[in-house]
């Protein structure tokens, strides 16, 4: 067992982890943050995407112990003061989901893409979301939502 400190959505947690525990299960099972989904479990689908120190990662392919000391943001950490994050709001406005299973990962990947200044065009957004699969094939509205959110976040700055 190993002593690990994680800051998740601004809250510090001290945990004793087995080295083999994957970050996604630390978030879901230990911290009860079940908004992050496990999809393929093989780092293909992106459903488990969270931000580690501001960068999108697939939490099914990161050990909890590797994240020791890191700042982690999950889907639960996006809304502030009762208002949806601009990416969440845009997904709502554009109906950018059908079943919703890929949505938390899609939103987190989009937040990383926009904050890195890489959501500059429809083509760049499609390329930037290549690590996230939507099996309802709802990409059209997802891309429109991310484009809208990128604009909103640009104006907000």
């Amino acid at each position: 067992m190993r002593q690990v400190a994680l800051t998740v959505n601004g809250m510090r947690h001290e945990l004793e982890l087995e080295p083999r525990e994957l970050l996604v299960y630390v978030l879901r099972d230990r911290l009860k943050l079940t908004g992050t989904n496990v999809g393929c479990d093989t780092s293909s689908c992106g459903a488990c995407t969270v931000l580690v120190d501001g960068e999108s990662v697939k939490s099914c392919t990161v050990l909890g112990v590797q994240a020791d000391g890191a700042e982690i943001t999950t889907i639960e950490g996006l809304a502030a003061n009762g208002s949806l994050h601009p990416v969440q709001q845009a997904f709502h406005d554009h109906h950018a989901l059908q079943c919703g299973y890929c949505t938390p990962g899609m939103v987190m990947a989009a937040v990383s893409l926009i904050e890195h200044g890489e959501a500059t065009s429809e083509a760049a957004i499609r390329e930037g979301l290549e690590g996230n699969l939507c099996r309802c094939t709802g990409y059209h509205n997802i891309v429109a939502a991310v484009q809208d959110a990128a604009g909103a976040m640009g104006r907000a700055r």
Binding site: R2, E18, R20, S56, V62, V65, Q66, A109, E130, G131
Partner: protein, 281 residues
């Protein structure tokens, strides 16, 4: 999927990592980004007794001007390599190819040293290193040694690294402005491993083709040089004529992404495309 149990230690320096590797007696593996190793642990293809985490060695995450070459620290993440201005200026095939690995999430974690040490013949950057004639700096308990890329890859998931050695730096040559380059891969989904990939460098002298070096991805147990194609180009053959020879000396695997025959055909098609692209830029 949960990996089997293993012990875990965090390395405080490259020397510390090497000491821990040596103490493990061959059953210890280095963990950098983990994007090849963790899936293998989950599938239990790999079952090391211990992992030494080198992911925090930020002093090995650098890109530096080395005079005639650019030096890239082994802990450089693919995303950092892809966006590096020094590489974009002097060896753009490396930064371009790093941006073609996996997807953004994978590139945020995966490292140059990890992909080269893993020895996967389907990885993108090993074939680029081979085409470039890159040099890999390896550290062991006795100090450093340099392995040419042509000698690094010895088999499927096997390299010339000793069990207690660690790859610390890749040195890629600065390309002349007259050198054309291309990296072309074919895969079924954007994020998949290359079914086949081709890294092409075409050297020109006074505008005429003076030589070429070509690295192939997933056309055998290791990344391979396409020597027959290189010789044909140097001898004045067209891109199409030279590309037709690309399967010479290869042993393309058969798997769910394609049969051996399909890969052989695909290699000729994308080699021609890569050469035309390299000749055009």
């Amino acid at each position: 999927m949960i990996p089997a149990r293993f012990d875990y230690d965090v390395a405080e320096s490259a020397a510390h990592a090497i000491e821990l590797l040596g103490a493990g007696g061959g059953d210890t593996k280095l963990l950098a980004g983990g994007h090849s190793l963790i899936p293998a642990l989950k599938l239990r293809i790999a079952r090391p007794a211990k992992l030494v985490d080198i992911g925090r060695l930020s002093d090995l995450a650098y890109v530096r001007d080395g005079g005639t070459h650019v030096a890239i620290g082994a802990l450089s993440r693919h995303a950092a390599v892809a966006s590096n201005p020094l590489l974009a200026e002097h060896c753009p095939i490396v930064s371009y190819t790093a941006g073609q690995i996996g997807d953004p999430q994978v590139r945020h974690r995966g490292t140059l040293g990890g992909t080269l040490s893993h020895g996967d013949p389907a990885s993108d950057l090993p074939a680029v290193m081979l085409a470039l004639g890159a040099e890999l700096v390896v550290q062991g308990k006795g100090g450093e040694r340099v392995i040419p890329a042509t000698e690094l890859f010895t088999g499927v998931f096997e390299t010339a690294l000793a069990p207690d050695e660690m790859l610390v730096e890749a040195r890629v040559p600065k390309l002349a402005a007259s050198t054309g380059w291309a990296y072309v891969k074919a895969n079924r989904r954007a994020q998949d491993w290359a079914t086949v990939g081709v890294a092409a460098l075409v050297h020109r002298d006074d505008g005429a083709v003076a030589g070429a070096s070509i690295g192939l991805v997933n056309m055998g147990g290791t990344p391979l040089r396409a020597r027959a194609t290189e010789d044909a180009l140097a001898g004045g053959s067209s891109a199409a004529e030279a590309a037709a020879l690309v399967t010479d000396g290869t042993q393309p695997p058969s798997d769910q992404a394609g049969s051996s025959e399909y890969r052989a055909h695909l290699a000729q098609v994308i080699t021609r495309r890569a050469l035309e692209q390299a000749l055009g830029n």
